[in-house]
């Protein structure tokens, strides 16, 4: 999922300077799981804004703030309630989808950090860089693009110490993890495979995928 982190509330309040009637949009998926934009956080934001002189004219939750058709219906009450700004408590994509559906400014309450997993409650780890050319099939299901600080695809650099990365000693060396996993799953031969360099031509931003056949 998309891992988000709350912005300092002062930063949010600075964004809202000059706006009084605020609507709040929460997100029922990733941001709920991250504790940054679920029902609880929406209620807390409402309380905070009201305690700091704002009028919260409406709140709503979208199961997915990243789905245009879902969001379209969910923001209708905001406009009807006369909101002059919306705060969106989702990831950066949700903020943009909400913004494309309302005629007033939309402000984020979160920083969007990475694509990864919830390891356990409150602990999140990056695990995918959306590189568009998945190598997990040859790397024991461990991603060297996101788990190696240098995104090395041909094996480790010399910079590990006791299995830990030189860039952040709290992180395990991705290639040692890959090696151990390949060994444990009897796939060590894959270590020797040279991975073709595909370059970056196909990852020119922003990318669009159209499966509609039109």
């Amino acid at each position: 999922m998309i891992i988000t982190q709350k912005k300092p509330i002062e930063e949010v309040m600075a964004l809202l300077r000059g706006f009084d009637k605020i609507a709040i949009m929460g997100c029922g998926s990733c941001a709920t799981a991250c504790g940054t934009g679920g029902e609880k956080e929406v209620a807390e934001m409402k309380e905070y804004l009201e305690a700091h002189g704002k009028t919260v004219v409406a709140t709503n939750m979208s199961d997915y703030c990243c789905m245009n058709l879902t969001v379209k219906g969910k923001v209708k009450p905001f406009i009807a309630a006369g909101a002059d700004a919306v705060v969106c408590m989702s990831c950066g994509d949700g903020v943009q989808v909400v913004a494309s559906n309302v005629p007033v400014p939309v402000f984020p309450t979160n920083n969007t950090m990475f694509l990864g997993e919830s390891v356990r409650l409150g602990l999140f780890q990056e695990a995918c860089h959306l590189c568009g050319n998945c190598v997990l099939g040859t790397t024991g299901g461990i991603c060297p693009i996101s788990r190696c600080a240098k995104s090395l695809i041909n094996g480790p650099c010399g910079g590990q110490k006791n299995g830990k990365c030189e860039v952040n000693p709290e992180n395990d060396c991705a290639w040692i993890m890959i090696y151990k996993r390949l060994e444990a799953t009897h796939q060590l031969a894959k270590l020797a495979q040279t991975r073709e360099d595909k370059g970056y031509k196909d990852v020119t931003y922003p990318r669009t995928i159209n499966t509609r056949g039109k």
């Binding site: 240098k150 094996g155 010399g158 910079g159 860039v167 090696y179 360099d197």
Partner: protein, 308 residues
């Protein structure tokens, strides 16, 4: 053909010395040290912002060295330059008669002295070597376009960390570097010949055919050795060496003589080099004096190494 290529490819014991450009543009000290090295080594290997610490470029000092009649080896890391920039620098290097290079992935900017810098890593060491080998074979640039005029040809090298667990990972990557065109391999600094021999056996067993040059770091003090053991990946200075350096420092203090640990470090480095050569362990040595390049001729003399 560079001196290093001639030496290694004709079975001679290769000797190179490492040199770092300054943080600035006054190359006086480097050029003075280089003069002392002339005729004593097969090449001066100029670092590309080692430890991700900002310095003048390897290309810049290599050009100055070439103009001064020395034999520079240009280092190229993938940390700061994408494939276009690397190839572009290779063209420029060739224009100045530089024909030997060392491909490295490069230390991450976060561990260096400009940590805000964006890491590039478009290509790693294997990728750089592959790109250059393909260029040489096809006469085309990294986009597949024809190169104007003659295609530059470089004698290419790579690095390896011999003291590494699990070793298979380094051996596997080393094999890829050699397959990608590395003809000579510089190792991280070695201090213990037994572990180095284990690495050489593993490389041999893996069928790796390249000229291996043992990395030699002359120690200056016990503190330096301890610091490297704790902070530099792949460095393992044995405790007895550290003890001897500490004893030399204590002796110096008692007698009021300065520089005894440094002198001992020179002796130890010379001894190591002599053993490597006498026992025919590998094809050469690469001396990383870390700012004390002036000591390199002394070390080589004590080790009984004469090139040419």
């Amino acid at each position: 053909m560079s001196l290093l290529e001639k030496a290694l490819e004709s079975g001679k014991f290769g000797v190179t010395a490492e040199m770092a450009p300054p943080k600035g543009y006054d190359f006086t000290e480097q050029l003075e040290s280089a003069k002392l090295l002339n005729g004593k080594v097969h090449g001066i290997n100029v670092t590309d912002m080692q430890s991700a610490s900002l310095k003048a470029s390897s290309l810049g000092l290599c050009i100055k060295l070439k103009e001064a009649g020395c034999e520079p080896i240009i280092q190229m890391t993938g940390r700061d330059r994408n494939r276009m920039a690397i190839m572009s620098d290779i063209f420029s290097a060739a224009a100045f008669g530089i024909d030997t290079m060392l491909a490295l992935t490069g230390d991450h900017p976060v561990v260096g002295d400009c940590p805000q810098s964006k890491p590039v890593y478009d290509l790693d060491s294997v990728g750089i070597l592959n790109m250059l080998s393909t260029m040489e074979a096809t006469g085309k640039d990294c986009g597949g376009n024809d190169i104007a005029g003659e295609t530059p040809k470089f004698y290419k090298g790579a690095a390896v960390t011999p003291v590494y667990e699990p070793q298979i990972l380094q051996i596997n990557k080393l094999r890829q570097k050699v397959e990608a065109g590395a003809k000579y391999i510089q190792t991280q600094g070695i201090f213990d010949l037994d572990s180095f021999k284990r690495f050489l056996e593993a490389a041999d067993k893996a069928g790796i055919k390249a000229h291996i040059m043992a990395g030699i770091i002359p120690l200056k003090a016990a503190g330096m050795a301890k610091y490297m053991n704790e902070n530099v990946p792949g460095i393992a200075v044995p405790q007895d060496m550290i003890d001897k350096l500490a004893a030399a420092a204590a002796e110096g203090k008692e007698k009021g003589v300065k520089g005894l640990p440094m002198r001992l470090g020179i002796e130890m480095a010379a001894e190591l080099i002599a053993k490597i050569k006498d026992e025919h362990l590998c094809d050469g040595v690469h001396i990383m004096a870390i700012g004390a390049e002036r000591n390199v001729p002394v070390i080589l003399e004590k080790a009984g190494i004469k090139i040419g």
